[in-house]
Each structure stands twice: as structure tokens, then as C-alpha cells.
């Protein structure tokens, strides 16, 4: 872990972050890099001027509230959409994916929130669905079961029985099977779309553990979440989105967890909301005052003015 530094966020810096020394030998070339990427749907600007990167053995967290543009960003990286401006580079070379399959071939795998698993099918059948190992016409079931079990073990998942329906696993375990499946089929970069959104505290911890496992195995991870408490412990970089634009792009040593939380909550907006509630009077005013206290407590009331150097 990096030593906690109290240096305040350096404000917005839209320039690509300094090429920090790569954690392992990759010549420092990021696996995935977006330069000034934007996306328009007709007149709607869904994303604007986004810079981000993830290298091997790194976790880049993308934080943002609903509607911040996280999904659009994933869709661009996953190859579902093309950026309408800016550049998308994979391992240093500009790319233009026309389908998720092409992205997959370059090792960019996406594990979606709603999980691509078939609940009534056994774990091993799910694991190899669409990529079945065959011996002539029939499937090589023994080999697949063994590979599935081994691969899950390598991720630290000790399953009771790979023959059980995947629906009998917990949400966290299912998420992990989906992650290790992506790893097994050659993913270099994992895009995890809100993997902890529907999970309880303990299950979220399990998933976070596997994110770290994946990082230790040298994968680049793009971790999309709206929960800074999940992002901060595992992330190396943090990209904050709000209304389709970047409101911050930090390395871990540039930001503390509380600052991240404050930024995420959108200090200014929260403050405004609290004023609105207060002026409404009655019970709403009560909530508004509490909200205001929270905002002050978090210390980042005006991220735009960047005067939060007094934050603890």
C-alpha cells in the first residue's frame, strides 16, 4: 500500500496522467488507453474529453453516479460503440473495434453486471459455454471439469462441486466464476461493470479479493463502481465521471478515501440539494440540514473551487 499522503487532489488535470512506472515489464505501455475520447448520440453528448489508461497489473477505477457516462465508457472500451472523437489505443496502437468479439480477440473481456450465466446449468457448463472443449464431435467433459476446477482454484475459489447448478452459488461466487472464465479465455484486460452493486458487504469483499487476485496475475482491471469504499482499497487510479465529463483523474497517492467520497457525492450538488430541502421546510428541512452536515464533515463542499486543502 502506498503511504497515505495528505496532499490535496491536484484539481482537474485533463492531460493524460504521467506515465507512472509500470508495475511489471511491459515497457510501460498501457494495455488500454483513451485519449480525449468522447461520444455523441446525435445531439446528446454522452461522454466528453475522457482520458484514462490501465496497464498490466493495475486497477483503474471508474467512479460516477447514475447517468455519469460509465456505461457509455464501458461500451466504448468493450467494442460495442466507437468513440466519436479522440483515440482508443490498445497496447500502444490505435484501434477501432466494430464488435465486442474483436475487443475480446485483443484480450479485452467484459463481465457485465447482470452476469452472463445460465442459472440452471452446472458451473462447468457455464464456464465453457460458447467455448466448449471438444474431442471429435463430443465434448471432452472430464477435461473441462478439471480445467474449470483448477482455474477456479487458481483464483482462490474452492467450489464444492463444479457439477452443481451455478444458480446455487452466491452472487459473489457467481461473479467470480464469470471473472475467472474471462481470465481463462485469455483476457488481458477485465472490465467489471458494477460487480459489487447487488452484493452484500461480505460478498463484495469476496469480489474485491478476486479483483486483487486478477491484478496479481498481471491483468489490467477496469473496475466500474459508484461506491468509493469499494474502489479505494483496490484501485491504483481513479477516474471520476459526472454528467459525461471527467471531474478528476487521480493516482492513488494523490487522493484519500474521504476526498474520493466527497468528489463522488458531488459536493456542490449535494450542498445545493441540502439548501433546496431546507427551504422546503418541515421534515425535508431536517434531512437537508443533516445532508449539509455530512457535506461539511466530508470536507469537500466545493470541488470546483479546489479550496479543500483544509480537509483534515
Amino acid at each position: 500500500m502506498s503511504t497515505p499522503q495528505n496532499t490535496p487532489p491536484a484539481g482537474k488535470h485533463h492531460a493524460p496522467p504521467d506515465p507512472s512506472p509500470a508495475r511489471d515489464g511491459n515497457g510501460g505501455v498501457p494495455l488500454v488507453k483513451l485519449i480525449n475520447a468522447g461520444k455523441r448520440y446525435g445531439a446528446v453528448i454522452a461522454l466528453h474529453d475522457i482520458n484514462m489508461e490501465v496497464g498490466a497489473g493495475e486497477v483503474t477505477c471508474v467512479l460516477g453516479d447514475n447517468g455519469a457516462g460509465k456505461s457509455t465508457l464501458i461500451k466504448i472500451i468493450a467494442g460495442l460503440h466507437q468513440p466519436s472523437s479522440g483515440t482508443y489505443e490498445v497496447e500502444g496502437a490505435p484501434v477501432s473495434f466494430s464488435s465486442p468479439r474483436e475487443a475480446l480477440e485483443r484480450g479485452i473481456a467484459t463481465v457485465y453486471q447482470d452476469l452472463a450465466v445460465v442459472a440452471l446449468m452446472p458451473v462447468w457448463r457455464n464456464f465453457f459455454l460458447g467455448n466448449e472443449v471438444r474431442k471429435g464431435f463430443r465434448m471432452d467433459i472430464a477435461a473441462m471439469k478439471k480445467m474449470c476446477k483448477d482455474e477456479l482454484l487458481a483464483m482462490g475459489i474452492d467450489l464444492r462441486d463444479v457439477d452443481q447448478p451455478i444458480g446455487t452459488l452466491s452472487g459473489g461466487e457467481r461473479q467470480c466464476v464469470a471473472i475467472s472464465r474471462a481470465v481463462h479465455f485469455g483476457a488481458k484486460v477485465l472490465i467489471l461493470d458494477e460487480p459489487t452493486a447487488a452484493l452484500g458487504v461480505k460478498q463484495s469483499g469476496v469480489v474485491l479479493k478476486y479483483i486483487i487476485q486478477a491484478r496479481e496475475r498481471g491483468l489490467g482491471v477496469i473496475f466500474i463502481t459508484h461506491n468509493p469504499h469499494h474502489a479505494y482499497p483496490v484501485g491504483d487510479r481513479f477516474l471520476l465521471l459526472n454528467r459525461g465529463a471527467s471531474i478528476g483523474n487521480y493516482d492513488k497517492n494523490q487522493v484519500t478515501r474521504d476526498e474520493l467520497t466527497g468528489l463522488m457525492a458531488g459536493g456542490a450538488e449535494l450542498e445545493q440539494l441540502s439548501h433546496e430541502l431546507e427551504s422546503a421546510g418541515g421534515a425535508a428541512a431536517e434531512i437537508g440540514r443533516e445532508l449539509e452536515e455530512d457535506v461539511t464533515e466530508l470536507g469537500i463542499s466545493q470541488p470546483t473551487t479546489t479550496t479543500e486543502s483544509d480537509a483534515r
Binding site: 452472463a116 442459472a119 446449468m121 459455454l129 460458447g130 467455448n131 466448449e132 463430443r138 474452492d158 447448478p165
Partner: protein, 352 residues
């Protein structure tokens, strides 16, 4: 399970302490066909006691024959239901195929085999249209095939009437190639005084093929996933549309096969035949453990479901009861099977 061969080198207790609790009985009960097997045994014992003629080998062979005529169709219907779709047109599609073969070869005085091949093309086409419409429109197959059911039924009766001025197809036994076709589709042998029809053999062969495809090939994997969660299946690269259209065409193929069997057994086909059979096929599949929602079931289960149907069908006659009671029993059977299956599946899932 001959995996014990690796025992000498394997580290001592490879079994996970967390799986020990599952008894062999629970393992059997966890199979989709468990309820059907239990039901088949009960019904067999019931008629064995109550209807003396039921005990003869020859009467059991006729039970098997009746079973096979339904079982041939119940097999692809089970696959289709596992794949998440219905086919209500399957019953009359059998008649359509048989009518097509007989009318074509009779009216154009061709070799019987020409009619057989034309009927095959028609049956596959019907299956394809069903599947294609379901995939392209996204309308539930229940509605699409209900429409197809009425269209085929109307065509069967109207076209037969127009062409032959009768309600049945002409006798084609004088046509060239008839005898060889009969040898293929509707032969029978006598073994030890028991008459066995080829349809029984074909039925068993097709059940084995279907089971193999379902459990041992990747197409089987795709069928389960297409029914269980088509969106996810598509996301990991399973060609869901092709799988589903293929399943509808498999139903078409077996409708053709069953139609040919009937045609070459009786030489002629009633144009109104087959109505209601689609429900028998679905009942056999459901009694055999197929879920109406797709993604779960087995071909063996559907075969046993058909066997239950055949046993009740013949058992009532052997017991000397009024055959009018038959449909009541079929309905009760279906309800009982659904309740039993639901109960067993909950138990099995809870005991994992």
C-alpha cells in the same frame, strides 16, 4: 464412473468434506426424469395388479407400440422445450407430412419415395418457418405455432377435399417403391411370439441420439443455455437463433418420420388426424421433467412420459374400463406429475 482407476496415485481424500451429505437417493432425485420414473413404476404396478391381460408380453409390446408413436414426437418436443420454445403445430404437422407424401406421389404417379422426400422438404420448411418467425418477431412460440396449427389443419382438410373429393388420402399401396418404404418406416418382426414394430426401435434409437446430443455435445450445451438464459448465451457467443430454428426443424424432421410411419402402416391418411396430439407430446415432455420455462429437462424423461401415457392408454382397455375415462386420467396424470416434479426439484435444490 470408472474414475477409481486413478486412486493409487491420488492424494488420499480428494472428496470435499462439504459434498459428503448428498445421498445416492438424493442424486437420483436430482435428475429431471426422477418423477417420471417413479410415476411409471407406480402405474405399471397398478395395471399389473388390476388388469390381468396387462401382464402378457404381447400386450406390453402393444403398449410399447402406442408409446413409440407418441414418443417419436415427444423426443424433439422435449428438446425444443428445453430450448425454451413450444410447438403446438406438431400434431397436425405429422398429418400434413403424410398427406403431402401420399397426395404428391399418387397425383403425379411417382415412386413412393419421391413423395417421401417432398414431404421431408415440406416438414423441414414448416419447422423452419415456425422457428424463423419466432426468432424474427420475438412473439412467443405459443402464439406463432398456434397460428401454424390452425393453418395446417385447414390446409390438411381443405386441400385433401379439393384434390381427392374425400376426407382421406387415396390408398398408395399400389405405387412403385411402396413396399421398400414400408420396410423402412413400418416393418415389424415377431420375436418369441411377440410382435415388435420398427417404430419402437426407432423411438429408442432417437431417444439415445437426443440424450447424447443433449449431454455430450456442445449443441446440447447450447440448447440448455438457449432455453435457460438466451441473452447470456448470446453474450458468450452461442448462436441462439440457429439453435432454436434448428430445434423447430428437428421437430419437423420427426413429424415427417412419424407421418411416414403412419402412412406406410395404413396406406392412407385421414385428413383430420393428429389434432390434439401436440398436447400429448407436451404432456409427455412435462411429465418427464421438462420445465415450461425452458433450460431444464431430459429426452429420457420425455420417453418415460410417453411410456406412462402409453401404459394408461392401453391399461384402461386391458382393465375393461370405459375408454371415455382416458382423458380424465391423462389430465390427472399431468397435474400429478407437475406437482411431483416441483416438489422433487425443490427438494433436490435444497439438498445440494
Amino acid at each position: 464412473m470408472t474414475q477409481t482407476a486413478e486412486a493409487p496415485v491420488a492424494p488420499p481424500p480428494r472428496a470435499d468434506e462439504r459434498v459428503g451429505r448428498k445421498s445416492p437417493l438424493a442424486r437420483i432425485l436430482a435428475r429431471p426424469e426422477a418423477g417420471a420414473i417413479a410415476g411409471a413404476i407406480i402405474i405399471y404396478i397398478f395395471f399389473f395388479i388390476i388388469a390381468p391381460p396387462f401382464r402378457n408380453a404381447s400386450s406390453f409390446s402393444s403398449v410399447l407400440y402406442v408409446t413409440s408413436t407418441y414418443g417419436l414426437m415427444a423426443t424433439p418436443i422435449a428438446l425444443l422445450m428445453i430450448g425454451g420454445e413450444f410447438d403446438l403445430s406438431a400434431g397436425v404437422a405429422v398429418t400434413s407430412s403424410a398427406l403431402c407424401a401420399s397426395l404428391f406421389s399418387y397425383e403425379f404417379t411417382t415412386n413412393a419415395w419421391v413423395g417421401v422426400l417432398v414431404a421431408l422438404a415440406l416438414s423441414l420448411l414448416i419447422g423452419f418457418i415456425n422457428g424463423w418467425l419466432v426468432i424474427r418477431t420475438g412473439i412467443p412460440s405459443f402464439l406463432i405455432t398456434l397460428g401454424m396449427f390452425f393453418m395446417l389443419q385447414g390446409l390438411n382438410i381443405a386441400l385433401t377435399q379439393t384434390i381427392t373429393n374425400q376426407v382421406s388420402s387415396p390408398d398408395i399401396s399400389t405405387l412403385q417403391g411402396f413396399n421398400s418404404a414400408r420396410e423402412v418406416f413400418s416393418a415389424s418382426w415377431t420375436i418369441g411370439g411377440v410382435n415388435i414394430r420398427t417404430s419402437v426401435v426407432y423411438w429408442i434409437v432417437f431417444v439415445i441420439i437426443a440424450t447424447y446430443i443433449l449431454l455430450r455435445t456442445r449443441i446440447g450445451n447450447w440448447i440448455f443455455s438457449a432455453g435457460g438464459n438466451p441473452v447470456s448465451a448470446r453474450a458468450v457467443g452461442v448462436p441462439v437463433a440457429k439453435v432454436k430454428i434448428g430445434l423447430f426443424m428437428a421437430v419437423g424432421f420427426m413429424a415427417w418420420f412419424t407421418g411416414m410411419h403412419t402412412l406406410f402402416l395404413f396406406n392412407t391418411i385421414q385428413s383430420g388426424q393428429g389434432i390434439g396430439n401436440e398436447f400429448v407430446y407436451i404432456i409427455a415432455a412435462v411429465v418427464g421433467g421438462c420445465l415450461l420455462t425452458g433450460g431444464y429437462g431430459s429426452a429420457v424423461g420425455a420417453a418415460i412420459g410417453a411410456l406412462i401415457f402409453g401404459m394408461v392408454n392401453q391399461g384402461i382397455v386391458y382393465a375393461g374400463w370405459n375408454p371415455d375415462w382416458f382423458q380424465f386420467f391423462v389430465g390427472a396424470l399431468l397435474l400429478g406429475a407437475i406437482l411431483l416434479n416441483t416438489y422433487i426439484r425443490r427438494r433436490a435444490e435444497a439438498s445440494i
